[in-house]
């Protein structure tokens, strides 16, 4: 369970998160939508401790992320994150990209790490591309590799930050299909996305962020069928 309690966060003068309260249960799929600059990415990077917070608490399975005593490196094994820019490690082959963390962070033997990598890569449909370098992959393939890389750590939670936004339109589908598959398998996920159709289909709940405030959160039918906040109504009509 991810519990976010009254989290505030500023970059200098700019308050980016203005007291966020949110709980994501095990097995739940939460999608987050909102305008650019509304604090969505910041929230995700705070959840896995890449960014510090100013006040409030974030608990993952009861462990407080920003407590001094927390071993963040250990905690991050539980929480996979995939960014808009896929950040392939260019000096490693596809399979090495995925094996790296299981070997070096989890300390698994090479053969075992490779077996995990191969399994995850096949899972996202890259079983044929094991030994090529990422520069030879399309954007969609690189993004699926990044997903496999995160999954290889067997995380309990996955955070996706606009993973399709930097892709050519014809490549969006293959990545969304991968996310749908994960959702069906019961992965607990927070997906920041602009794909409304996707949000409607896979989410248990949808949240709307506006200028650092979570304005609305509801199951998709209600969220899209009967939006209450005027900002959300405006946002939805702008994105048809």
């Amino acid at each position: 369970m991810i519990e976010i309690q009254n989290v505030r966060k500023s970059f200098g003068q700019l308050e980016v998160l203005k007291g966020i309260d949110l709980t994501v249960n095990k097995g739940e799929v939460l999608t987050v939508i909102g305008g650019s600059g509304s604090g969505k990415s910041t929230l995700l990077t705070c959840i896995n401790g890449l960014e510090p917070i100013d006040s409030g608490r974030i608990l993952i399975d009861g462990t407080e992320v920003h407590a001094k005593s927390t071993d963040l490196n250990k905690l991050r094994r539980k929480v996979g994150i995939v960014f808009q820019q896929w950040n392939a490690f260019p000096h490693l082959t596809v399979v090495e990209n995925v094996m790296l963390a299981p070997r070096k962070v989890l300390g698994l033997p090479k053969a075992e790490a490779r077996a995990i990598a191969v399994k995850q890569l096949s899972h996202v449909g890259l079983g044929e591309k094991l030994d090529v370098y990422p520069s030879r992959l399309s954007g969609g393939q690189q993004q699926r590799m990044a997903i496999a890389r995160a999954l290889a750590m067997s995380p309990d939670y996955m955070l996706f930050d606009e993973v399709t936004s930097a892709l050519d339109p014809q490549l969006v589908g293959e990545v969304l299909d991968t996310l749908r598959m994960l959702a069906r398998e019961g992965m607990t996920m927070i997906c920041v996305t602009h794909e409304m159709k996707f949000a409607r289909e896979v989410s248990d709940r949808v949240a709307f962020f506006h200028q650092g405030v979570m304005m609305e959160i509801a199951p998709p039918a209600e969220f899209f069928g009967n939006p209450r906040a005027p900002e959300l109504q405006k946002f939805l009509s702008a994105t048809h």
Binding site: N48, L50, N73, K74, R76, R77, G80, I81, F83, Q85, N87, F89, P90, H91, L92, T93, L100, A101, K104, V105, Y133, P134, S135, A146, R149, A150, M153
Partner: protein
């Protein structure tokens, strides 16, 4: 126009001695590179440390190394340190001067390579649970190495060429030094120095080719 008879056999007879000198030349170049790389890493660390004194020292080193002649740097080691009662042999002065020069240029090279790797790479490593040092070692370093490699091999070629400056402070065991000594005895300046030039050329080419082959093997992506 030419009333001069070239006498190459003397120069050819001296070839074994010249090659011995070439070995010393290579030795100094290699040592100066090793020392230069270690210092350059330290200088880069100092510049990134955020400590103002350390980074000022590092910046000064880099600027002096890049903006004064290599020969000046060797003179500094040979004559300048005399002011502190330190009297270095020609060999040590030469090595110190070139190592100083290498360190300055390499530090700049390393810094550039580091800047060329986006933060997002470190971030990606960190989010997989790597501690900062591990993320640096496994993700940033190998990519840095590739960017820094070719400029570093150029520096190696420079180091080889710079060793010839030792003769101006009395170095007489490297290729230039031995050539100069043979020349002083025989006055066959052109022949001896032409031989030396050919040897320098071959060493420089060999180093360049070896570095290319190595780069080709190491960096397949």
């Amino acid at each position: 126009m030419f009333n001069y008879t070239f006498r190459w056999n003397q120069a050819f007879n001296a070839l074994p001695r010249l090659l011995e000198g070439a070995l010393v030349t290579l030795e100094i170049a290699l040592l100066s590179m090793l020392i230069g790389i270690v210092i350059a890493i330290l200088l880069t660390g100092c510049r990134l440390s955020g400590n103002r004194v350390l980074s000022a020292i590092a910046r000064t080193w880099v600027e002096v190394a890049r903006n004064t002649p290599a020969l000046f740097q060797i003179y500094m080691a040979h004559f300048g340190l005399g002011a502190f009662g330190i009297h270095l042999s020609p060999y040590t002065s030469l090595l110190a001067g070139i190592a100083f020069n290498n360190a300055g240029y390499l530090a700049e090279n390393f810094r550039g390579a580091l800047k060329a790797i986006p933060d997002t790479q470190t971030r990606a490593g960190r989010s997989l649970g790597m501690p900062p040092i591990q993320a640096f070692r496994l993700i940033v370093m190998p990519q840095m190495l590739r960017i820094a490699f070719l400029p570093a091999t150029n520096q190696m070629v420079w180091a080889i060429l710079m060793t010839s400056l030792g003769v101006t402070v009395g170095m007489n065991t490297d290729l230039a030094g031995i050539t100069q000594e043979l020349n002083a005895r025989s006055f066959r300046t052109f022949e001896f120095f032409a031989m030396a030039a050919v040897i320098y050329y071959l060493i420089a080419k060999a180093v360049t080719l070896a570095a290319r082959a190595l780069a080709w093997r190491m960096f397949r992506y």
